[in-house]
Subunit: 355 residues, 2 copies
């Protein structure tokens, strides 16, 4: 597999952009959705901010509190010696109990837009684009995917609160204002990628439930006739018994059409939380049919910025663009920054093998 990483990677780093909240620091700008509008490439960045940590005995994090009607940005301080919590994961604070439930996230994420005329050099908007607006988003909005259907862009993202990780949908035509379309999947679900056109009169979406008692974090398919309501859920693609994809898998980029089928660039992690990208080919008429997939990752964490960071050994895509026969993959690295690589479409297709 020949992967051309951009020399200027990472293309966007936390230190490149100013925090939106007073007395906060940007600790991540990553996992961006991708859209093309009027000749520009737009990245819908997940920006993660946390309060400046100025007390070594405390962990401070931020939520948006909707308990009193009007949303209030609220900084929480937890004592590091509080035995009720487990601070060992940089991403989440767990209750110190056998069930390992999540008490808080360590940062608040929202969506901010970056714009580029060449797809490589980006200017980041000052203000958020999608910011927590409902109680189901009080812990943040994360990991957007953008599906263009005619002149409307549908943005699917993780809506996170103490009630769980659900999937929100908004639509926009101009990336200035947007319309809220509700939560389209209940907890626990993420990594939703809506296909850009109907098949047999139906819309389809990849989604990734995380069941508790039975089952694994794997890719499912759902259908819809209006993008708001989803059903006819079917299990699509599972973990391997061993290898790079034996921990969790989920949709990545919005699927795009090739002559051979829908190509989906997805992510998978092994049981050590090392995240790679793979490709799977789905039938053009019936996306519940898995035709082929890459046996080995098409992208694995190798560069320094992919192996080191806030949460290292992660490459994670929410969107790609296609220039002639070259695929440009935008991907978050180490839950910290954004990177870009280019791969020949033929190279990916030649590595697909029957499942």
């Amino acid at each position: 597999m020949i992967v051309h990483r951009l020399e200027k990677n990472p293309i966007l780093k936390p230190e490149d952009i100013a925090a939106y909240h007073d007395d906060h620091e940007v600790i991540g700008v990553f996992n961006a959705g991708v859209a093309e509008l009027n000749g520009e490439t737009l990245l819908l960045l997940r920006v993660a901010e946390r309060p400046v940590q100025n007390n070594p005995d405390e962990v401070k994090t931020t939520v948006v509190d909707f308990s009193y009607g009007e949303p209030q940005v609220k900084v929480l301080s937890l004592k590091k010696d509080d035995e009720g919590y487990d601070f060992s994961d940089p991403r989440t604070i767990l209750f110190n109990e056998t069930q390992r439930r999540t008490a808080f996230l360590t940062s608040l994420s929202y969506i901010r837009i970056a714009r580029s005329s060449d797809g490589k050099s980006f200017t980041v908007d000052d203000a958020p684009f999608i910011y927590p607006e409902i109680a189901a988003e009080s812990w943040g909005v994360e990991d957007p995917r953008v599906t263009q259907i005619e002149d409307t862009y549908y943005i699917q993202y993780s809506a996170i609160s103490d009630k769980g990780v659900a999937v929100g949908l908004v639509s926009t035509k101009d990336f200035v204002s947007y319309e809220r379309l509700g939560l389209i999947f209940p907890p626990e679900n993420k990594d939703v990628a809506i296909f850009p056109e109907k098949m047999n009169g139906k819309y389809y979406a990849l989604h990734r439930p995380v069941p508790k008692g039975i089952g694994q974090p794997e890719i499912w398919l759902a259908e819809s006739d209006n993008l708001l309501y989803w059903g006819n859920h079917q299990h699509l693609l599972g973990l391997s018994e061993d290898g790079w994809d034996n921990g969790r898998i989920g949709g990545g980029a919005v699927p795009f059409k090739t002559s051979q089928g829908w190509l989906e660039i997805y992510h998978a992690a092994d049981r050590d939380d090392r995240y790679c990208l793979g490709a799977v080919l789905l039938d053009l008429e019936d996306p519940s049919k898995v035709l082929a997939k890459t046996k080995e990752p098409i992208l694995a964490p190798e560069a320094d910025y992919e192996t080191n960071g806030f949460f290292g050994d992660v490459v994670f895509t929410c969107g790609v663009t296609l220039q002639n026969q070259s695929l440009r993959i935008y991907y978050g690295v180490s839950d910290t920054s954004m990177a870009v690589c280019e791969v020949a479409l033929d190279d990916i297709l030649s590595r697909l093998t029957d499942v």
Copy 2:
């Protein structure tokens, strides 16, 4: 609260009905959905069967295997001294690992119909009504609710396989044949109860996701315009910090209309897995508005058949009928048998308090 339990409770016990599978025993006939058709009361019984356990060193269970196209009923034998498994829960066999994932169920459930002219004495059909027919049902179908909309009955049930606990939907007009309408909620979800009429042009359903990382097993509301596809998910009713409903809650009976609002008889369990029934009142025009609920259970396990059995201390309803102002609650007891009690509707309504 004045609860009249039928003297002849339990009205249906495992020993009352013959196993459908050769060399199997019925270990449960419980958690029945309820329908009224042509003056008869129909119970859609969850019947749980397992292989006759004739080797004290083994645990045998049954699945329906769809790996080879045609479904095959398959008996699995596990050695009790296999350290890979944990046999301590009578309902499920767990992998012996920190994640406590479910390896198998200890029985296979399917739906069988019982018919009655007085609502109290039932004759059980010999053959199953809904039996596993797709891979997503290979571990069984459980806990049906029946929603009548005009002359069509929609049956919502748990569809269980190694891929998770999802929610299936079928429709019937005669309880002889039915049409499959797909999985309407992906894993992990159960306890779905569809409202029997539209509000503001939309169908509504209660559902109960079980998230893994963040959130609790609590009641959510979804809407639909065709009963097949669901969206606009909203969190509806949560656990209490302490008390009879601090472990998990979920929809029970199909909600029914009163002058004051939609009345929903739901179940809740505490952290010791003691299951009780409560009542919650929802706005007639907007069921996302919780108007009031009972602070204490309206039914708790007290009778011997409610406290002892396959899994004791469980009362669990999937359906009720209303005779004038008296509510007849059909409920599973101890994951073993079916029981009936009657409660004055006014008595429930008088115990509702603001939330």
